[in-house]
Symmetry: C2
């Protein structure tokens, strides 16, 4: 596959420079390292936008309570669970979860797509990828830890709950997509250096894999970049230029929150996904 001449790749994929190790490579499309890198960077923008939009609303804690006056009759859970679950049912009908980049928060009992979706093979990823979904962890850290850090305490009226919940869902989906993109990152890294990852995979050595996947200088750079994005994208734009201090003071979201989000949650959870994926990467 790697040395023989191949036809031009389809638009959504491209050959990367290194050959696949062949152990499970047949039928897998090549992934372009540059494309993965660009997607990760582009997804940072989406995450920043979604947090800025959520910050427009107060905390609206009634949305997240399992038992409150604003609970849906007959539904056993919080309003946010209801909205996310029902939205996922709708999106599943139009094929959202046929994409390897999308992961539902409530995967149980989702309907099959009502429209024809493309056949799933050849895949970009090893088949084990579909069994990895850490959305329950993402859900928990987003609602319990992140949300209180960037929303003002307070409860708007019930008619603002839907808009607030849509913003939450956009945040959750953007974070979920970015973190599970670790599957593609891991696949690219593995194909680039199968000889490096092989022994740790065969030994099922999580710590060794985590070490291989950790590049502290890169992580520091990412943390700085997302903070800069938060500052730029959440500034108050005026036709008359203000000075830099003024811009920073008027940010709709604290730039340091983004560094922390990436440092404490996004990057560690992406690496967790990568480890989970790699542990199964040589499965037959």
């Amino acid at each position: 596959m790697a040395s023989s001449p191949t036809p031009p790749p389809p638009a959504e994929t491209a050959r990367n420079g290194n050959s696949d190790d062949g152990s499970k490579g047949e039928g897998l499309l090549m992934i372009d390292l540059e494309r993965v890198r660009k997607s990760l960077i582009r997804q940072e923008d989406s995450i920043v936008f979604s947090l800025i939009e959520r910050a427009k609303f107060p905390s609206n804690s009634s949305l997240y309570k399992s038992s409150s006056s604003s609970q849906i009759p007959g539904f056993d859970g919080s309003l946010i669970q209801y909205i996310v679950k029902e939205t996922e049912i709708l999106h599943s009908k139009i094929g959202r979860y046929e994409s390897p980049e999308e992961h539902p928060f409530f995967p149980d009992g989702l309907p099959l797509p009502l429209i024809p979706c493309p056949p799933k093979s050849p895949e970009l990823l090893h088949g084990a990828a579909s069994s990895i979904n850490i959305n329950s962890t993402i859900w928990k850290f987003y609602l319990e830890e992140l949300l209180p850090l960037f929303t003002k305490q307070g409860d708007g009226d019930a008619s603002s709950y839907a808009c607030t919940a849509v913003c939450d869902l956009n945040c959750l989906q953007a974070l979920s997509r970015r973190i599970h993109y670790g599957k593609f990152v891991a696949e690219v890294k593995f194909r680039d250096a199968p000889e490096e990852y092989g022994p740790a995979i065969r030994a099922q050595d999580r710590d060794a894999l985590m070490k291989l996947l950790t590049f502290e200088d890169v992580e520091e750079m990412v943390k700085k970049r997302v903070a800069k994005k938060a500052m730029i994208f959440s500034q108050e734009v005026n036709l008359i230029e203000k000075d830099a201090d003024d811009k920073q003071q008027n940010c709709k979201i604290d730039p340091s929150l983004l560094s922390r989000l990436y440092g404490e949650w996004v990057m560690p959870l992406t690496k967790l996904v990568q480890v989970e994926y790699l542990l199964r990467r040589l499965d037959k």
Copy 2:
């Protein structure tokens, strides 16, 4: 109401400087001009963000065709109509359309909220406001005119349709909210100068009202500001500073598109909403 001492206004409203004319003012809450202005400016950011996010996907024209292989069986319409309609049914159940700022694209037969929503009076707006919904016009210009201007021709696979449609819905809702916010703008302007608007309203003179509502220098400033926002929010952010020309070239969305969007559609349609509202403002 205006001259006698009043208790501090609730958080979501505030007294404005001028008194209401009283003709339909009893029971109406006061609107803060500064708050309306701030909301309009903040909504520009949401519109720019939503367009940048939609621009990630190709045109995906199959989403918009009434008759295509990717149509939902048993549903008479395009995929985008299906997704928007079903999403609005869900959001209606949690009270989205109880807010005077939200307008459905498919208002017929929407279910009542399943959760208790706040009583609607006293209102910020005259009761006639609820009869004004120009979303069919917004739908048409967005899909037929705007979308082709900022998306690349092409069809992704069906699993990307749901994400594309969600981006469309975010754009449509952001535009709808901004344009229908004209109701609040008109109410503030009317309360500020009832003697100016009264004669044109009583004469039901659309042209005179449109003239009263048009401030060309302000419109030019808004067009410049939204273009600047598009440039800033859609730039490629790097830790190493690039020069201004480079930033502009790498924009994810053309800044001049935003000027055009506001000049040709958002501001004229907002004024249309204002005129429609004012024409009914003195109705008993």
